[in-house]
């Protein structure tokens, strides 16, 4: 290994720790961790893993920094808006700790590339924000027998667990066998999240990685930890393997690569046509296009700069007969509910109407695409 010699001064305070010592530091330095998602959970996890001296860290993220990321994604600054998260994160971590190796994967992890990428690392930290990624990471980790440190958040609550860190270990599908029905569980963009919450949960994930690598303490192997920021209540639940889980998992790499995770997790929504901001702006000048806001009553920001109809998703079905235009563009906050709405309309109108969903939602349009 061509890594530089360990700097004792940098890690002195943790080398001092009983049970950790020089041996623990060498174990971190000799290890590699893949962090999937450099968002709310990924930023603090990356920061602490890099600071602690994990020898090689991989960063997977295909997204760009947006203004609405900054209240929780603490590796990024206002100047970084519009830049690739993976690259910016690597730059920050490099200046935090130039002694470690950083690998960036500035694209989406899919079942076509996951086995190769995950195969290069000792442990995977799931810091993603959608079910398709969570299931495809879990299934890859089961196939490759890789320990997986899971973390997920919703509004004021978080979950952390360690999967596959021991023989006959529990995996994510033992807890949640199959993806929830599309649209039944809201993500942060839809439901909101307290900025500090992923800071806590991502930091707990980094803690579990360090415990696994150095053998200190009792990591959450076969356990689920839950935390509520509003009440300070936390629980640890014991998990167990389930017989039926095996039938849900792909058995071979070939079978894994044939699965359509987007379809499994998002259903008909995965084939909805999305419209980018430039095409949307062009559409706004066409009379034949009907623009529909599918957000619920009272959601902010109120849109006044272009004409549109308001048909909240919860009442869209009964209002379908009122949709008369041949081209329809739907929007919501983040582009998730509008995809659902588009799937619903496409199922009704088939090819008789052109149905689009505004990609990234109205927040993205306001931030990046709005005409001057």
């Amino acid at each position: 290994m061509s890594r530089k010699d360990l700097s004792y001064e940098r890690y002195q305070r943790q080398i001092l720790l009983r049970d950790f010592g020089e041996k623990g530091q060498q174990q971190l330095f000799g290890a590699s961790v893949l962090v999937v998602g450099a968002g709310g959970l990924g930023c603090p996890a990356l920061q602490y893993l890099a600071a602690a001296g994990v020898g090689k860290i991989g960063i997977v993220d295909d997204d760009l920094v947006s203004l609405h990321n900054l209240h929780r994604q603490v590796l990024f600054t206002t100047e970084d808006i519009g830049k690739a998260k993976a690259g910016v994160a690597a730059k920050r971590l490099e200046s935090l700790n130039p002694e470690i190796e950083l690998a960036t994967f500035p694209f989406r992890l899919t079942n076509q590339n996951a086995l190769t990428i995950i195969g290069e690392f000792d442990i995977v930290l799931d810091a993603t924000d959608n079910f398709a990624s969570r299931y495809l990471i879990n299934d890859a980790c089961v196939l490759l027998h890789k320990p997986l440190v899971y973390g997920a958040i919703s509004q004021f609550e978080g979950q952390v667990a360690v999967f596959q860190a021991a023989e006959n270990s529990v995996n994510y599908r033992d807890l949640f066998p199959e993806p929830p029905p599309p649209g039944s569980v809201l993500n942060c963009a839809e439901a909101g999240v307290l900025g500090v919450l992923p800071g806590i949960i991502g930091t707990l994930q980094a803690t579990e990685v360090i415990k696994l690598l150095t053998g200190i303490g009792k990591p959450l192997v076969n356990q689920l930890f839950t935390y509520n920021a509003l009440t300070n209540e936390s629980f640890v639940f014991d998990l167990a393997t389930k017989k039926q889980t095996a039938s849900l998992l792909p058995k071979t790499a070939a079978e894994y690569e044939r699965l359509d995770y987007e379809w499994l997790c998002e259903g008909p929504v995965s084939v909805v046509e999305e419209m980018d901001t430039a095409a949307f702006n062009a559409c706004l000048h066409e009379d034949k296009t009907l623009v529909i806001d599918v957000r619920e009553e009272g959601e902010q920001p109120e849109i006044t700069s272009f004409s549109h109809r308001k048909l909240p998703l919860s009442r869209l079905k009964e209002n379908i007969p009122a949709i008369d235009a041949n081209t329809v563009v739907l929007f919501c906050q983040s582009g998730k509910r509008s995809r659902e709405a588009a799937a619903l309309l496409s199922a009704t109108f088939g090819k008789t109407k052109k149905i689009y969903s505004l990609k990234g939602g109205i927040l993205n349009w306001k931030a990046n695409g709005k005409e001057a």
């Binding site: 978080g158 979950q159 949640f176 569980v185 509520n228 014991d238 998990l239």
Partner: protein
């Protein structure tokens, strides 16, 4: 009388309108689910894992007096 406590999380707590619920005279998790889903039909639309006394259970589990049942929906956010 047999009493149990139901702890709910995330979207389940939103549907039940509370995170801590006391119920009585329920002998199994299946019975509990039936009663909750009757009272809160929206619960049928979301998945959740069930733990009894902090142990995740598969299928229906029997409930003793003072059992603590946790209803844990998956979170996707990150």
């Amino acid at each position: 009388m047999k009493e149990i406590t139901v702890l709910s999380f995330g979207a389940v707590a939103d549907i039940l309108g509370q995170s801590n619920l006391k119920l009585s005279n329920l002998s199994s998790t299946d019975e509990l689910m039936q009663q909750l889903e009757k009272e809160y039909p929206a619960l049928k639309n979301i998945p959740y894992a069930i733990a009894v006394n902090k142990q995740l259970v598969t299928g229906s589990a029997s409930l003793e007096h003072n059992a603590i049942v946790a209803l844990l929906p998956p979170f996707s956010g990150g």
